[in-house]
Subunit: 188 residues, 4 copies
DNA sequence: GATGAATGAGCCTTCATTCAT
DNA sequence: AATGAATGAAGGCTCATTCAT
């Protein structure tokens, strides 16, 4: 699955504009927003959107993939830190992202597949599952997370927290997260 | 919000058939299923659906309301039991329901509004929020739940758990729930 | 493959209007005319066209089927006459029809399938093939057509003549037909 | 209608590549194949196609013109032979070409205009009409074709036969052609 | 009250054509 | 000259909603 030849500079820029626009529009209206709206937000013709993403679904996938990449980057940045803070920091970051971006949690759901459930895994899901598992194992070795927690249920919690966060005020979100974190910590 | 004159017996029956059909269809295909499909499943003409529910949205709301009523009934049934088991039993029941009924968790999201967030509360939300709060307070008085947990974050957790449950295998769901429950229990 | 329940009177009328409109529009612009144009010509909304014919292809098929029915009726009417005149009369009639209706000959092409070639036969094709074969056999028994002509090549000639007729003046058409007829007659 | 300055050698080559590609693609997919597909098959950018043929229609015309040229070449080659075989050989060749190349017969239709019907003649049509007429006259002088056959009906027959040939098996085609040829021969 | 035919706005997608690179 | 990205007008089709029967 190569990337094809590198896009011309302007095409590259348009691709990015479309992706940004799609993220914003999907966040505001949900995934059922029209491709036309995405094009308008990006300031390009609708044909351009379809040139870059040959079907609406490809656009959605691309948006999600971009988000997972961002999450993975965050995880990488955090791996320099101590295992415990890295783990909880990542979890918090991921949930906060979801809070801003409606429909975002769907991508996490895909990770569930890679992390235990049945169904066909996706590139996105596999990538995220690996990231999360690494953080988890390190945190467990450092004694910051209960040893009997597996990646599958962790991702389930991540999905749930992300979805819940969508329509909830920041401090409620924080308090709910604290409860989950308490459940994750080794018995005191 | 008057109910108008009481429905004729057959109209009453049709309303119920439509509601049941909508629940089944939405569960199977998601909320974007067509109203026509609902009518077919109910065995009535599409005009009849619109006579009972003047817009698709009204139908969706009615379906959700029915679910909340079911949850509330469950809660009432449980209040005879001890406060702790009642609380955790209700939580588990609600999440398991969500696991079967895709798109079900949305109704819980509405409760979040009534239970703390901003926005316009709905009949549904208010009802559920009250139900949940009662269970919570009783459980806290019985020492089964940490005293510093408020109804808002509890509903947030309920939403999250319900949404996560949709695509996750039963045992992963159980393990994830256990973690949340551990977080909810008073410090041991 | 039943016809479903009988349509309401008004629906019946609309179906006929759409079929007539489609015939006219396809004749004028070819099969690539837009469904919207057909709807306008019929004086109905575009949704109505799709209600009656769930895909453009169904509409095209229906138009063709109607034409074959007309041809078959003509054939039936002619079967009272003597075999020779019936045969040549039918051939002439079919070709004259095609002359007015551009894109009409396609339906005859389908008959070719039933009449010898490979591929999946269609209701239309089978019906027409049978009609034509009957006329042919009777004409041969009456000595009006060479005995070594089979239905397959007869239909091929019909197709060719019909297609040629589309853009040719009436008297050229007549002279060309005469040549073909001469070829069909037994050696003098 | 000047040709502008002579094309650079590479441009000349590209024009030829495009024409070949168009012939292949139109033969395979029909005239509704996309210009993009033609460009791909030719191995050039789509801009290049439009530089050589300012509209899709010009490309189609050019393809047809090329075919007529090929037919004319065939006719020229045959004029060395005896008039009768030349005539029937040409007819057969033209029809066989059409059998392979879907949508090919359209060009013959244009010849009909030049050969009798009303409408604006085209370079293509005129060229072919002249070619056909020459063959016809020679064959009639040689007594191989009935004297009362004119070029217009001959072209009509050619069109019809070519169109019919598109979807018919080779031996059915041969038998149908034999019938037409019998009709063309002087009374025996 | 029930029915389902009619309606048309809106969606996704394709493709001829233009134009900056 | 060649390239291919951008454009936007259609086109086929769906579906919530209205209304005559």
């Amino acid at each position: 699955m190569g990337e094809g030849r590198p896009l011309r500079a302007d095409a590259q820029r348009n691709r990015a504009k479309i992706l940004d626009a799609a993220e914003a529009v999907f966040a505001a209206q949900g995934l059922s927003a029209s491709t036309e709206d995405v094009a308008k937000e990006a300031g390009v013709g609708i044909g351009t959107v379809f040139r870059h993403f040959p079907a609406k679904e490809s656009l959605i996938e691309a948006v999600f993939l971009a988000r997972v990449r961002a999450l993975a980057d965050k995880a990488a940045a955090l791996s320099q830190a101590q295992a415990g803070p890295a783990f909880y920091g990542f979890f918090t970051y991921a949930v906060e992202q979801a809070a801003t971006q409606s429909a975002y949690a769907d991508v996490l759901s895909e990770a569930a597949v890679a992390g235990g459930g049945g169904g066909e895994p996706s590139v996105v899901g596999v990538e995220l599952a690996a990231t999360v598992e690494t953080l988890l194992v390190r945190a467990q070795q450092a004694g910051a997370v209960r040893a009997d927690v597996g990646p599958a249920e962790l991702i389930a919690l991540l999905i749930g927290a992300s979805r819940a966060a969508e329509r909830v005020s920041p401090d409620v979100r924080t308090r709910a997260l604290d409860i989950v974190f308490d459940g994750l910590r080794p018995i005191r």
